[in-house]
């Protein structure tokens, strides 16, 4: 992941947005900063089901910390993936399990993206991350 921002900076940035345009331009830019997954990693196994757009997730456990990589064929989903990564990457399994990502999306006023219809891809991605943490 090349996103050079921590969670506090992300929240602060979001707090300055007063219209949807700045916010979505920022989300799309966040996505563009994500290191793309190598084609070899875009496997059926890494593909997250339930997404209208395609989302892939890989992970590695290094020195007790989970390193995730995410990619998507849709710009906004990729940007929202970056938000999830900023909150969850390179942390211990326990810390990830304890994370309140719904709370974060609510705070950022992005909760609609986790709704049943639209964000179910994102929702599945969060569930997969939680699942990986629970089994690491």
């Amino acid at each position: 992941m090349a996103v050079s921002m921590d969670l506090e900076e992300l929240k602060e940035t979001f707090s300055f947005f007063d219209d949807w345009e700045d916010k979505y331009r920022f989300i799309i830019d966040l996505g563009k900063d994500l290191t793309p997954l190598a084609d070899a990693d875009k496997t059926e196994e890494n593909l997250i089901r339930g997404c209208q757009s395609q989302v892939w997730l890989t992970h590695q456990l290094i020195d007790g910390k989970l390193h995730f990589q995410l990619d998507s064929d849709a710009h906004i989903v990729r940007g929202l993936s970056a938000v999830v990564l900023i909150a969850s990457n390179e942390q211990s399994a326990e810390a990830i399990t304890a994370l309140d990502l719904d709370g974060l999306f609510d705070e950022l006023d992005l909760l609609a993206h986790l709704s049943v219809t639209r964000g179910n891809g994102l929702r599945s991605m969060i569930e997969r991350i939680k699942h990986i943490a629970a089994h690491s």
């Binding site: 345009e21 209208q52 757009s53 064929d73 849709a74 710009h75 906004i76 989903v77």
Partner: protein, 399 residues
């Protein structure tokens, strides 16, 4: 001439802007008269139908049956017995697929097309599994029209049934239904026409079409959800067995066997969606009072304008170029996913649908993940089109 003010929801806001509703292919909004009809039924007439001898039951039955007569006239069916109330298009197709089980022989063909909605694919796959029949599909051209030569080649003496959509929900293609039905009849195949997207935008005359079955959903015709129609030719309906068993559909029941009512009741087991049927009747009454031909012509003009302007936008890619187009514009923005565009339009108060539109085989055929679909109805206006064009233009600056 605008009917817009008859639809109260169109005055609301979405994302802080006045709502632009262009997801009519998914469902249409309801005029006040339909909302009032449902309200009035529950406030003054609610009762079960066809059962009791009291005044309320008589009123409810009369109201529901008048909905049936309105449907009959609306599609020019020969008899009220040919109008079966279902939950919608999907249930109507499932009903037909189930009652045909005994008629389909192993090795026969069930012909569909590459344009079909999943609800005109999956029930036939299930029927094929039960009977050992084969599913075949008429190919489309790259413009998104049915390949009539392929239809002619695939319609053979071995074809038991040809089920196709009157209008494509994904691309807006209007199929030459009458000619297709004639071709199917020439080889002795039964025909089912999925009218879900046609019923509001095209005059539908089942006698003139000559099909065996025609199906549609009320909710795409200004009526409530949960009510739809299966039209079937009377002689054919009489010869077919019932599907679900229960109350309403029987004539006499003993503990070991039953005799059934005739059509349509034979196919309407259980307490029906009475309020829905009344709402559908109210929607048809409403439509009958409008200058439909003029409204449809105006809608076509709006769509032509929208298409001309959208095609000027850099990166805009129209999906499907049928010569005969109904009220759908399907498109992509170069370098982005349809969901990106859908989200960016939603943020501007413009409701469209993005995704595969329950047309996965069609999207696979076109080699795309889905499209953004703006689908129109008779209440859309110039302002909606201007907002759509500006909205798409703005979306491209993000992507």
């Amino acid at each position: 001439m605008s009917i817009r003010s008859d639809f109260p929801i169109l005055a609301r806001q979405s994302r802080g802007k006045s709502l632009v509703y262009l997801d009519n292919g998914a469902t249409t909004q309801k005029p006040q008269v339909v909302i009032d009809a449902i309200d009035k039924y529950y406030q003054q007439h609610n009762s079960n139908v066809h059962r009791a001898a009291h005044e309320l039951a008589e009123e409810a039955t009369q109201m529901m049956e008048s909905g049936r007569s309105l449907c009959q006239a609306f599609i020019n069916a020969e008899s009220r017995k040919e109008i079966i109330f279902t939950r919608g298009t999907t249930e109507a197709i499932n009903l037909v697929a189930n009652v045909l089980t005994q008629r389909i022989k192993p090795g026969q063909d069930i012909l569909i097309t590459e344009l079909e909605h999943h609800s005109n694919i999956v029930p036939w796959q299930m029927l094929a599994e039960r009977t050992g029949a084969n599913i075949k599909a008429v190919a489309i051209t790259d413009d998104g029209e049915l390949d009539l030569n392929d239809a002619a080649a695939k319609l053979t003496k071995n074809t038991a049934l040809f089920a196709f959509t009157h209008v494509s929900n994904g691309l807006g293609t209007i199929n030459p239904a009458k000619a297709l039905i004639k071709m199917a009849q020439d080889v002795g195949a039964l025909t089912l026409v999925d009218g879900a997207q046609a019923i509001l935008h095209l005059p539908v005359d089942v006698k003139d079409l000559g099909c065996d079955f025609y199906v549609f959903s009320g909710h795409k015709l200004y009526a409530p959800t949960g009510i739809g129609v299966l039209y079937g030719r009377e002689a054919l309906l009489e010869a077919l067995p019932p599907w679900q068993g229960g109350g309403e559909m029987i004539e006499h029941v003993t503990l070991t066997s039953s005799t059934y009512q005739s059509a349509p009741y034979k196919f309407e087991a259980g307490t029906p969606n009475i309020a829905g049927a009344i709402g559908l009747g109210a929607a048809i009454t409403y439509l009958n009072q409008q200058p439909i031909a003029d409204l449809v012509a105006a809608e076509g003009e709006l769509i032509r304008k929208a298409l001309a302007a959208l095609q000027q936008i850099e990166g805009f890619q129209l999906v499907g170029q049928p010569t005969e187009r109904s009220a759908v514009i399907s498109f992509l923005i170069e370098g982005s996913h349809p969901n990106d565009v859908g989200t960016l339009l939603d943020q501007q108060g413009i409701a469209v649908r993005s995704g595969h539109h329950c047309n996965m085989p069609l999207m696979t055929r076109l080699g795309i993940p889905g499209t953004v679909r703006a689908s129109f109805s008779l209440y859309n206006n110039e302002e909606d089109v201007e907002r759509l064009i500006a909205g798409v233009q703005k979306a491209t600056t993000f992507l």
